[in-house]
């Protein structure tokens, strides 16, 4: 940084670095230090929110890889998470240790995701959305009716994860486990995007014909995107299953898929950090609205009744405002905020 009045890259490799400056590295390190220490100062409710955020981050970055970076829209992500949850749960119920079960859950989900990804070679845009919607419906139907394996409508009770005899049975312990997987998922996706595959994904998203004419095997890379994305979704599902200790088909319905789509749209399509923001935002939003409603009910009992009824409406309204005023999502807001401070007294 000495003497330079900006960032200049002289090689492609340098531009591709995740962190460009020492300042970035140290702030990220500081952030993680705070994050690691935070649970000791927070209530178990607040730690439980962090857990939900961690799991949502895994689901959101994985969907963003598929939809944001590779351009393959998926309405079946919720069901893929369900596949991971059930596969992991079935393994641990049969006495598998947690980590192999989780990996098996991820692998099963990757396989299922790739099977449902096959139509993506022929179908694009809205047609693919409908094909993945079919995946969503079919998978939930299977969860509901393959009673001997999934427990059907009654669902499946599970135990907290146990790794090498150590049980993650509190929110605090669970936090470090989910954080580990969330950070790994973010790093995996970030790094995939810097490889040949990642560039191929972006090329396919931008225009499939050009991608094919520069020698990208569309089928292979689309399936790869489905596979990796579903694998991570499966991991998220496995963690969710063992965190909530109970899964049933209701949890993985279309609403969950929509929620994950909303996360990556609000966060910013194609942006890894955006998926993280989206996951944080959409996990905290209902809590925040609920707390506001509770506070209001202390003063205006009647208003809070209407407010509660309007909560879903407010939620939808926020989504619409995002689409209108910030179509590039929170990731762009973040960029703007950063550059504002970087350039501070000279805004232009």
């Amino acid at each position: 940084m000495q003497g330079k009045c900006g960032l200049f890259f002289t090689t492609y490799a340098k531009e591709c670095q995740v962190f460009h400056t020492d300042f970035q590295k140290s702030t990220v390190a500081l952030f993680f230090l705070v994050l690691l220490a935070a649970p000791f100062f927070l209530s178990s409710y607040q730690v439980s929110l962090l857990n939900l955020i961690n799991i949502a981050v895994i689901g959101a970055v994985s969907l963003n890889l598929l939809t944001g970076s590779c351009g393959q829209i998926s309405l079946g992500h919720g069901a893929f998470i369900g596949v991971g949850a059930y596969a992991t749960g079935i393994c641990t119920l049969n006495g598998w240790p947690f980590l192999p079960a989780l990996l098996f859950g991820g692998a099963t989900t990757a396989l299922v995701g790739m099977i449902f990804g096959i139509p993506s070679l022929r179908l694009k845009g809205i047609y693919l959305a409908i094909a993945t919607l079919a995946a969503q419906l079919i998978l939930v139907y299977i969860f509901m009716h393959w009673t001997s394996v999934t427990g059907g409508a009654i669902g499946m009770g599970l135990d907290p994860p146990v790794i090498l005899g150590y049980s993650f049975d509190t929110d605090l312990k669970m936090f470090y486990l989910t954080l580990f997987f969330a950070v790994s998922a973010v790093l995996i996706v970030k790094n995939i995007l810097r490889t040949k595959s990642g560039r191929a994904f972006v090329a396919i998203r931008d225009f499939h014909l050009s991608a094919e004419s520069v020698g990208i095997n569309l089928f292979r890379y689309k399936l790869q995107a489905f596979g990796v994305s579903s694998f991570l979704a499966g991991i998220a599902g496995g963690l969710w299953a063992h965190y909530t200790m109970y899964i049933n088909p209701e949890q993985f319905e279309i609403g969950l898929s929509i929620q994950y789509l909303a996360m990556i749209i609000i966060g910013g399509l194609g942006s890894v950090i955006g998926s993280v923001f989206g996951a944080v935002f959409l996990t905290l939003l209902p809590e925040a609205l609920g707390i506001v409603a509770n506070l209001l009910s202390g003063f205006f009992p009647d208003i809070s009744t209407y407010f509660l009824a309007m909560r879903d409406g407010i939620f939808g309204l926020i989504l619409v405002f995002f689409l209108i005023f910030e179509p590039d999502g929170l990731a762009r807001r973040w960029q703007l905020a950063k550059s504002y401070f970087k350039l501070h007294p000279f805004a232009h």
């Binding site: 178990s44 939900l52 929110d171 209701e250 609403g255 506070l295």
Partner: protein, 387 residues
């Protein structure tokens, strides 16, 4: 700015004052006030809250007031979990839960944290303490309700052929719960099962399903849905001139159904596990006073009774000096034919059997209102526990 400061300090002061009040019995209430089941979730939650109000006005339980924290989770599992965690860190000793989604999701959590959960998800498997050691409810489970209805239908059957029975239910955990038990018991009694159809909770039309059913000429049709799907089914049945008697389950038969379905409800049977508003029982006097005589749905009565039974368990636990989760659970398990002021049939819980009772009330539905025709009480059969 000054104004803002004033408001903020007011908030802080109020929360401090709240925290400094004398030791209170902390009860969490998870409600659906804005989600998919809010039409019935609201009256139920009102019942729970009014019961707390009533107990506190009487001076609390053994002199200690009840402090409640109500959180709306919009029928979303994730929000139910965080609501539960919030209540847990607030220090609740017992929980008033709500529907299938939250109750099922919390079964293991309440068992781990040893917090008794009195909910309104009457799934039979929750009555088995092996599966759900901290779950309670104050109505006969869905399976028992269906069995009770079958018992009544069979005992009043006067033709010399087997009655034909059909089932219509949504492809949903709540709708599927009593189906295996119902079919098994129907066959055991001597019914002939002639058809099964799925009508979704949000469906606006059931004509195709009912046309298929009508060809089998069922005498009785079980409808396991919620109000809107039940109204759709009854109206379509009226339009198709079906002459079967429909039996609507507990979440599918209330005052809303009567107004939604109009004349299509006439002659059908609705199941309840509590009295309806205005019944001549001691508890109704209190409810009438609390609600200023404004009519409440039956769900309100069950919410009230659920809290009332929980308060009794808390009282017993306090007498033993054990105001904590396991204490309240053990106290609840000592209840024998406890009468919640006539609002529901008497309640008993046993250490190895959390079925509150085996009674279901059958009401004749008509546009004018509901009329009690019978209260069926089944035998507490061991092989039915949890099924």
């Amino acid at each position: 700015m000054k104004r803002l400061f004033q408001i903020v300090s007011l908030f802080l002061a109020m929360s401090f004052l709240g925290g400094m009040a004398q030791a209170e019995i902390k009860i969490g209430i998870i409600s659906d006030l804005s989600g998919a089941t809010s039409d019935v979730g609201r009256p139920y939650a009102d019942g729970v809250k009014d019961c707390i109000k009533y107990i506190n006005e009487k001076g609390g339980i053994n002199g200690q007031k009840i402090d409640m924290m109500q959180i709306d989770y919009a029928y979303n599992v994730q929000q139910a979990l965080s609501a539960y965690n919030r209540m847990k860190s607030w220090g609740m000793v017992a929980l008033q839960g709500w529907g299938t989604a939250d109750t099922e999701a919390l079964v293991r959590q309440v068992a781990r944290d040893r917090i008794p959960n009195f909910s309104a998800s009457y799934s039979a498997h929750l009555t088995d303490p092996e599966v759900a050691p901290y779950n309670f409810f104050i109505a006969a489970d869905y399976s028992t309700q269906l069995r009770g209805a079958l018992d009544y239908l069979y005992s009043t059957w006067d033709k010399d052929r087997a009655p034909r029975f059909a089932l219509v239910y949504p492809n949903h955990p709540y709708g599927l719960a009593p189906i295996p038990a119902g079919k098994e018991y129907a066959l055991e009694l001597g019914f002939e099962i002639v058809g099964e159809e799925n009508v979704g909770l949000g469906d606006m039309d059931a004509t195709t399903q009912l046309l298929r059913l009508n060809r089998q000429k069922p005498d009785f049709v079980w409808v396991g849905g919620t109000i809107s799907s039940t109204a759709v089914i009854l109206k379509d049945a009226q339009r198709l001139n079906m002459d079967s008697v429909f039996i609507t389950n507990i979440w599918g038969s209330d005052e809303q159904l009567l107004s939604l379905a109009g004349s299509a409800v006439n002659g059908h049977i609705g199941l309840q596990t509590s009295v309806i508003y205005g019944a001549d029982v001691p508890g109704m006097e209190i409810i009438k006073e609390l609600t200023n005589g404004r009519h409440q749905m039956t769900h309100y009565v069950r919410g009230f009774a659920s809290m009332y039974v929980m308060a009794e368990a808390i009282r017993i636990a306090m007498d033993k000096g054990e105001l904590n989760g396991p204490g309240i659970r053990d106290a609840a398990r000592t209840l024998r034919d406890f009468d919640p002021m006539g609002l529901t049939p008497p309640i008993s819980f046993y250490p190895d059997d959390h079925r509150p009772n085996m009674s279901v009330k059958l009401y004749r539905l008509s546009q004018e209102g509901m009329e009690l025709i019978s209260t069926e009480t089944l035998e507490r059969r061991a092989d039915w526990l949890g099924k």
